[in-house]
């Protein structure tokens, strides 16, 4: 079992190319398309009045061409000729203004819509980035937890073994004391016995590491 190498987890050529191409595309977009998008919106607001004037001018020309091309004596003498001309020209002007304004509004709305679409894409990207970051955080936490679990497991094994060693030493001590009692005559002489080999009065370190016995 070999130690994991960072090279095993390195990005592949496809990953590298994908990131590089995406970055280059984004740079190109920012340098070339974003200014156009801004220009479009800017222009749609700036040229609102100009568009209306242009449409009004055309309406004016059409009206005058239609109503003043034949100024005959009857028209001059008519009571309502002037009023009719003013009325028709005003109505045509209104149509021209409305067309110009509608065109400008339509461009303005389209521009803001497209900018909002861009903002939506940014928001979707941020959501994705947030998901990636959370996954990363959770993975790191999980890895740390795995390390901690392994350490606690190891400490538990060592602790349990130390406990067992201590218990065995105490048991051996107890058995040997019993053996001494049983094999001591009336004069206090020990006459043999089956003793467990151990270091008398061993220190705690020796006991828990199992070196107090044998």
């Amino acid at each position: 079992m070999s130690k994991p190498k960072s090279s095993d987890y390195k990005e592949s050529e496809v990953d590298k190319t994908n990131a590089a191409v995406a970055m280059a595309d984004k740079k190109y977009f920012r340098e070339n398309y974003l200014p156009k998008q801004r220009e479009f919106i800017e222009r749609s607001f700036k040229e609102e009045s100009g568009l209306m004037s242009m449409a009004e001018g055309r309406a004016q020309a059409d009206t005058m061409q239609a109503l003043t091309q034949n100024p005959n004596r009857r028209a001059v003498g008519a009571v309502d000729a002037q009023a009719d001309l003013a009325s028709a020209a005003s109505a045509q002007q209104l149509q021209g203004t409305a067309q110009g304004l509608m065109g400008a509004r339509s461009d303005q709305v389209a521009g803001i819509k497209s900018a909002n679409q861009m903002a939506s894409q940014t928001a979707a990207g941020l959501s994705q980035a947030s998901k990636i970051a959370t996954t990363d955080t959770l993975n790191k936490a999980k890895a740390k937890q795995t390390r901690n679990s392994a350490l606690i497991g190891a400490a538990t094994k060592l602790g349990v073994q130390a406990g067992k060693n201590y218990s065995q030493y105490r048991a051996a001590e107890s058995i040997n004391t019993q053996e001494t009692k049983q094999n001591t005559d009336a004069n206090g002489n020990v006459t043999g016995g089956d003793y467990i080999p151990m270091t008398e009065g061993a220190g705690l370190f020796k006991i828990v590491t199992g070196r107090g016995l044998g």
């Binding site: 028209a75 003013a86 009325s87 203004t97 679409q117 990207g125 602790g159 067992k164």
Partner: protein
């Protein structure tokens, strides 16, 4: 020439000899680059478009059409008066008597006032239609803004809950493992 050979020759003629992709700069930390790019995107959006968005939002009570139509109606009355006066000069008064000329003037004045009122009223109707249409578009845009903000917050909340849950789980695991270790060691000592 077979079909596959034809495609091959077409492709060969279009194939770039230069490795553009190979010359691109390597992205060291794609996740960091992604986060940075998104921050910049948002900044770009605010810096470049927010002012226009606010401007458009303020146009739902616009009166441009009404104001301009009032000005235009007055201007058209002046133009029509000019046309009439030039025509009268051309035709030497058109053979009209003084009374007839006066009547013509009165008729023109009445007509101009009616035209002004009619034009402004029509402009009001059209202006309302346009403002309503703009409002409708703005509502559509607003729905998108609302949806994406909810989506973003939803993801953030999901992440927060997942992190909090993982933290609690990790704490519980740690506590359980430590208790287990203590109990096992104690038991080993007490055997």
């Amino acid at each position: 020439m077979s079909l596959s050979n034809m495609f091959k020759s077409t492709y060969d003629s279009m194939r770039s000899e230069q490795d553009y992709a190979g010359g691109l700069q390597n992205v060291q930390n794609p996740d960091k680059a992604f986060a940075g790019m998104l921050r910049q995107d948002y900044n770009d959006y605010i810096a470049n478009f927010r002012q226009y968005e606010d401007k458009l939002l303020g146009m739902t009570d616009d009166t441009t059409l009404i104001d301009r139509s009032r000005e235009n109606a007055e201007k058209q009355a002046e133009i029509a008066a000019g046309v009439q006066s030039r025509n009268l000069e051309r035709y030497g008064g058109g053979g009209l008597s003084g009374a007839q000329l006066q009547e013509q003037q009165r008729s023109a004045q009445r007509g101009n006032q009616l035209s002004l009122a009619g034009t402004v009223n029509n402009a009001r109707v059209q202006q309302r239609e346009m403002n309503q249409a703009l409002l409708q578009e703005l509502i559509g845009i607003g729905q998108g803004v609302n949806a994406r903000s909810l989506e973003g917050l939803g993801t953030a909340a999901q992440g927060a809950v997942a992190r909090r849950g993982a933290y609690k789980q990790a704490k519980a695991n740690y506590s359980s493992q430590m208790t287990n270790m203590g109990a096992s060691i104690l038991a080993a000592f007490l055997i």
